[in-house]
Symmetry: D2
Subunit: 336 residues, 4 copies
């Protein structure tokens, strides 16, 4: 059994706690959160110990690996500590909102041999993974055009938006990762445009809620991404990859396959009410892959470098949005 | 140019008139109907001559072929006259409601070399024809199970139902033809059950409006057919063929590919409002095939024997419905 | 915590063991199987005790409820014992293959206040349940026609078929339950026909592999059911309910929403490879409902009487198949 | 009967000839083409007169209206002549490739009362028109995001590409018109990017074959358009409109509703082989609307101003492509 410590007992923390408890090869050793009560609630009857001090976790020799699901501003410090403590890490995105801080901690990770698994769990979505496999196998030939989208269902609170780094760093970042991963290429240029169309408070917070991003791949392939914070029909996520030999789609996933015919209409049950319901199975699937990494059975994937790439694209997208022109994407590891 | 005479200036007669006028290799020579005014309306500005007397048509040497779209009780007489006059015939179904009359005229046709094309135009529906081709090519392996359906949208007037021979002879007969044609087999047994669920007047007329028919093929394959006179969602026609290597479907045909996502629903535009709108293109396609037959360019298909088979199945279905047990199907041409 | 004892450590037994272990309000107290090794394997590291003797289970005061997932010939005895021991039961279908034995044990259950939950877990399938709810709410008006199907993917071993009671009692029985449940009616008549088309050994075993059953409801509504033991495209299960106000469908469930366009084809990922993969989530959902029944929180559903009804329909279907004519369905509880 | 003269006897000219001949209220008076033989072939047995001299057409008092389907470089001259001759015009796009020439002839048209109907026949596609109607009726609320695409199936000859003005002026222009029409807004800014990915000869001709265009609407709504010259799965055209109350789609149109299930695949018949097969019905529908305009029965729609708008967007898209930055769209009629 692998003993896992969990940092963060909020919503996503509790999702990870369930994965850890439900996995046949792991046990939950610690729950660490600044809020002792939240930590206790997440630990529940699992037998996990509870603390508000990360040091307690690092001091425990039984802990094999950690899951970082605490607030964004703690990720970099905890990553550093984990590297020094030699514990494998499953880290929620983003690494940090300060890109210099990101680079510094990335250097630490790269200089170590500690595996850091980035929580881009969508790579483990059955639909997306099948599209990735098909594209990698050449089923659509050379990739020429992609379309990804993430829509809704409703904007998070403005207080969250202010802390989140904005739509590109918070929502679109998942699509930046998926696009690079599926295309097998690091985009070289980004053009971004957007507006706050659903709530003036989002504009006041300096953010947008409806956007289009165009990525250019080194091969010349183009990728269009649309992101919306509010969606009147649930949570919509879709990927289309168009190539020289055909097109493949990771399609909309309905909650049920139930359809009613009446009058001149055909009415089907719709999409999931929120992003979490849509991608819920990916958390356990990604955690299972992480356990395989810790056990040395599967290669590390997605890595911190994948997290870094997605953040670099997001930074460039923000720059493009403000400059109102296409912007070249500078990657840390290319510059170094 | 082939000169065609049209018998019957009712709704279907006028559909055929349009096919004749619109076809590049035919002209409409005569419209013959007991109602002179109807005949004149159908002839319109086409230059066609008009009469209430079939004899006028047979006397005209210019007439190469005839379309029989008059009332059912005139079909057999006109067929006989056409055979004697040596004119190719496109004949709407059924041949006659009196099965002895059917056998007699079928014998006349078989003893002649006059081509008689039965108006089972659904064989020329693009979807159905593709399914027929795939099954014939072995794409689903050995046929084991079929499901056909024809539903709605609303019952014809009871006055029509009384004259029509009932649901099996009037509506389901098309599916009897399609099932035999696609399976490439003449069914050997039929079990039929049904009820008048939508209108007591249909029961009073001795008919049903909702039915299930099970056909057994000589290979052992089974075929289920459901027919409904009233359908709350337009006209629904569908064919599914299940075999040892897979299944193929001639699916529902929407009027438009337009879909709206809203709330927890996905709402698509529905089916055609009536059977005619659904199969309208098949009339011109079948007529074009008939012209090819007259020109000697394509083999005769569907033939009078196809019409006879479908009627024999319908007769046996009626017998099964009344006897409340499975009934063997006796084919005229097997007995002779 | 509710302590559950499990009878039967075969494939389905182990599925139930996982449900019991994974449920937040239950623990696995015992695994009882004639094969001690199998019982031990199912108990695994759960802490459950293991026995080959049912008496050990009944003697344990800690046991609140039992799951009967042992071989069919033991169901009736274990049910009797559970009733006498006053333990709530989750019982896999069928109750017994001997219909007199079924009636006897049903009488025992009805005379007791022991809840017996029949394992018709498909009622807890999200698609089927939504159709049931819609039909019950009148969304399709008066039910007039139904179509249910269960196909493939491959026939069980002939040794199993010989013991199973045949296709109607083993496979179609689930659709008999679903049809009655959704229609809210007990069918009054059945016509069944079928053949062994895929393997002569099935015919030698006195069974069929491809069948059509027509049920007549007291309202006059008709229901057609097709069942196939072998299916070249995975496991296919579908329900269509047609009524005076429209039609609703519990549609085919794909494994993934992934589609590729190439040349003149659109190729989607298909159905589940087997019935288990298709309905896997229903086991945990049904078990959760059973726990609610044991806790007195939800009404018992489906009950032993539901199991009895489905078996009576299956008996009548077998009788119809052999008599080659429609057969009236006699229900035990109507006669008593 | 309205007498129509046709300029241009090429492929599209012959399509229009068929519409004119098939329409119940029009006759084909003249076919005028620089190639006398082509004109004669298009006239066929319709009784139309044939000429290589436009003057012959203008001199004929019988001619009520003209269809301009000749080569692009003749459109502006023929439009001028038609205005002076007072004949209603159905004009294929584009007006002219020289934008100054476009403005000049547009001024002539606007100063006259001659109706000029632009051949944006896609507005009469049943799917697109239903989406336009729904959006106009507010079915998706305020429009926030649109996605339009036109793909394949194969690039025209490079000789054509050189004369065509390039992908934006030749292919994407239809989507510029559809986007403005459906949104009910004139876009204010365009960003365009693209590459020649399928054939180096297209790059040599100074053109692209794969592109993304982002339009900004005055309301802030965003519109993404992708255009591809080569498509490995037929001709693909699709429109998605996303708004505050939901989303509506003019979906892919299959050639047939035929689907085969086999193994782990579901294989449907695909899209049309080319753009013409996809939109063929729109030519007759648009021509019928034009006849209504000539008869004074329906308002003029789409007008020359619609043609002008689409060309202005195309011009700005070309400018953006070359400048590699977003470009404001300057409309002629705003400047005047």
């Amino acid at each position: 059994m692998t003993t896992i410590a969990l940092f963060g007992a909020g919503f996503i923390g509790r999702v990870h706690a369930a994965s850890i408890v439900g996995h046949p090869r792991t046990r939950l050793g610690w729950v660490c959160d600044v809020d002792q009560t939240a930590a206790e609630r997440a630990a529940g009857s699992t037998g996990a110990r509870v603390t508000t001090e990360p040091a307690d976790v690092w001091a425990d020799d039984q802990v094999d690996a950690v899951v970082i699901a605490s607030s964004t501003d703690t990720h970099a410090d905890l990553l550093s500590q984990a590297v020094r403590a030699g514990r494998a890490v499953y880290c929620e995105k983003p690494i940090d909102l300060d890109i210099d801080r990101v680079r510094a901690v990335a250097a630490e990770v790269q200089d170590s041999d500690v595996p850091v698994f980035m929580g881009f769990s969508r790579r483990y979505d059955a639909n997306h993974a099948a599209v990735h496999a098909a594209v990698t196998d050449g089923d659509v030939g050379e990739v020429e055009l992609m379309h990804l989208l993430s829509r809704g269902p409703e904007a998070p609170p403005v207080s969250y938006i202010r802390r989140s780094g904005g739509q590109f760093r918070d929502q679109t970042i998942h699509l930046f990762d998926l696009a690079s991963w599926i295309a097998g290429q690091d985009p070289v240029e980004v053009y971004a445009t957007g507006a706050a169309l659903t709530d003036p408070a989002i504009a006041d917070a300096g953010d947008i809620d409806t956007s289009i991003v165009v990525l250019t791949m080194p091969s010349g392939a183009l990728c269009q991404i649309d992101s919306c914070r509010r969606c009147a029909y649930g949570y919509d996520e879709r990927i289309e990859v168009y190539g020289s030999a055909g097109m493949i789609e990771s399609g909309r996933k309905p909650v049920r396959e139930v359809t009613r015919w009446t009058g001149d209409q055909i009415i089907s049950h719709g999409l999931h009410p929120g992003w979490f319901e849509r991608i819920e199975p990916t958390f356990a699937a990604a955690f299972d892959a992480f356990v395989g990494v810790v056990d040395g059975q599967v290669p590390l994937y997605p890595s911190l470098q994948d997290g870094l790439r997605a953040q670099m694209i997001a930074e460039a997208a923000v720059a493009s949005l403000h400059a109102h022109r296409p912007v070249e994407i500078a990657y840390y590891w290319q510059a170094s």
